[in-house]
């Protein structure tokens, strides 16, 4: 095993049969967007390369077909096949695996997972807030898990949860107890839609972000337009910091909104232009 920490790609599992739901869970709509799009955009805020895991028969399904796909390439059934296919496609990459039936999954939950990841074990995962068992479908799977998963399946194993329980993994307590609530039935779908509608913070809005100097280099871009529900520059910084891992802490930065210095707690409005200002060095 290499001692180098593997880079992380994102994998949205969308190959399930959705048998109890009796409808494809990936295309269920919450707040105007399919769950597949919501999961994809969420993970994309944290890792640069994100793929959708599909079965061979799903590659032309329109919601999936527009995105980078990893088609099941190994024998067998269940989510382990999707994870193994991704590990086989990019053997030196670790995968942030997210199921597409987690409508409450949050930036904070992914931040905690990525921040506390231990690349020396086979996986970093949450324990369920309900039964204390490992949650394999919002977890980071390391390259070394490929061989162990193959051996597990060749011995007849199918359940990624049991796999995690039996192997060397890091288990974390989720700070947000509901982030991993999944939905399996039409009743749970209705409840999830109602809960999301009632908690919806102000609808998300578009902001324009410009980057300068060190932050431009670390973001890899000089500007972007972002759809976000961040209400203040402080929240926006947390969201962007999760994605770009800026080396400067917020305490060393100033912020400008619409080309004027602003407070970190100012309320942002749609269309605002935000600039984070690293320590200056004119003269």
């Amino acid at each position: 095993m290499s001692s180098r920490t593997a880079p992380i790609y994102g994998l949205i599992l969308a190959g399930g049969a959705s048998s109890r739901m009796r409808r494809d869970k990936a295309v269920l709509v919450y707040q105007g967007r399919t769950q597949l799009d919501r999961a994809f955009e969420l993970v994309k805020r944290h890792v640069a390369d994100v793929f959708i895991s599909v079965r061979g028969g799903q590659i032309t399904e329109p919601t999936r077909a527009q995105k980078p796909l990893i088609v099941d390439s190994v024998e067998g059934a269940g989510p382990i096949v999707g994870i193994r296919s991704a590990l086989a496609a990019y053997p030196d990459v670790a995968w942030l695996v997210v199921a597409c039936d987690l409508p409450f999954l949050s930036d904070a939950a992914l931040e905690q997972l990525l921040g506390e990841r231990d690349p020396r074990v086979l996986a970093t995962a949450y324990t369920s807030a309900h039964d204390g068992l490992p949650e394999p479908l919002c977890a980071i799977w390391e390259p070394a898990a490929a061989a162990a998963l193959a051996a597990y399946q060749s011995n007849g194993g199918q359940c990624p949860r049991k796999f995690l329980s039996a192997h060397s993994v890091l288990l974390l307590e989720p700070r947000d107890r509901h982030a991993l609530d999944n939905i399996n039935t039409p009743e749970e779908y209705q409840q999830a839609m109602d809960a999301l509608d009632s908690n919806a913070p102000a609808n998300s809005m578009q902001l324009k972000i410009q980057y300068f100097a060190l932050m431009r280099e670390q973001a890899g871009r000089s500007e972007e337009t972002l759809e976000t529900s961040a209400a203040t520059p402080a929240e926006l910084f947390s969201e962007l910091n999760a994605r770009y891992r800026f080396t400067l802490p917020r305490e060393q930065l100033k912020v400008a909104v619409n080309s004027e210095f602003a407070d970190w707690s100012r309320r942002l409005s749609a269309g605002d232009a935000v600039v984070f200002i690293p320590p200056v060095a004119g003269g």
């Binding site: 300068f212 080396t247 004027e260 200002i277 690293p278 320590p279 200056v280 060095a281 004119g282 003269g283």
Partner: protein, 165 residues
């Protein structure tokens, strides 16, 4: 008279003429130059980058504050952006006033404030092939310089002086 940027050499003679005034008995200018070392490292060139929309506003506010604080006639500051070589002029400040004392004080005030407030960033390129954004990375990279984000680069270490009324 407005704070401004240029990506070409600063024309100090033309800038000085903007400060001429029949009531002025003197003129003080400050030039900041690119020097070949900083904090023990050999510097080979610099790049300046600015958030120009806000930098122009903040620069103008500093010039207006100088005119309010000191009995001077005119004040101007011009800053370079882009790539600069050793000995190039990075910044120019000029002040004209009836008397020399105020001109010196206002000139010092303007350069100090510009260095602390205007969103301009400086990337140093070193002989070793490394580079770094001044005040943004070397504190973390070099603990021996961990005195805070306030170190100075291109000129003598200035204290941020206590300002007169």
């Amino acid at each position: 008279m407005r704070f401004r940027f240029t990506d070409a050499a600063i024309d100090t003679e033309a800038a000085r003429r903007e400060l001429l005034d029949r009531g002025a008995g003197g003129y003080v200018s400050f030039e900041g130059w690119v020097r070949d070392h900083n904090e023990g490292l050999e510097v080979t060139r610099l790049e300046y980058e600015a958030f120009q929309v806000l930098a122009l506003k903040e620069g103008d506010r500093i010039l207006a504050e100088a005119l309010q604080r000191f009995p001077i006639k005119h004040a101007l500051c011009i800053h370079r952006v882009g790539s600069l070589d050793l000995t190039d002029m990075a910044v120019w400040v000029g002040v004209s006033a009836a008397h020399r004392g105020e001109a010196f004080d206002a000139c010092r005030f303007i350069i100090d404030e510009v260095k602390h407030r205007v969103p301009i960033w400086k990337k140093e390129h070193y002989r070793s092939g490394d580079s770094g954004w001044v005040n943004c990375e070397r504190c973390a990279a070099a603990p021996r310089h961990a005195q805070g984000a306030d170190h100075d680069h291109a000129h003598e270490p200035l204290e941020h002086s206590v300002l007169p009324e």
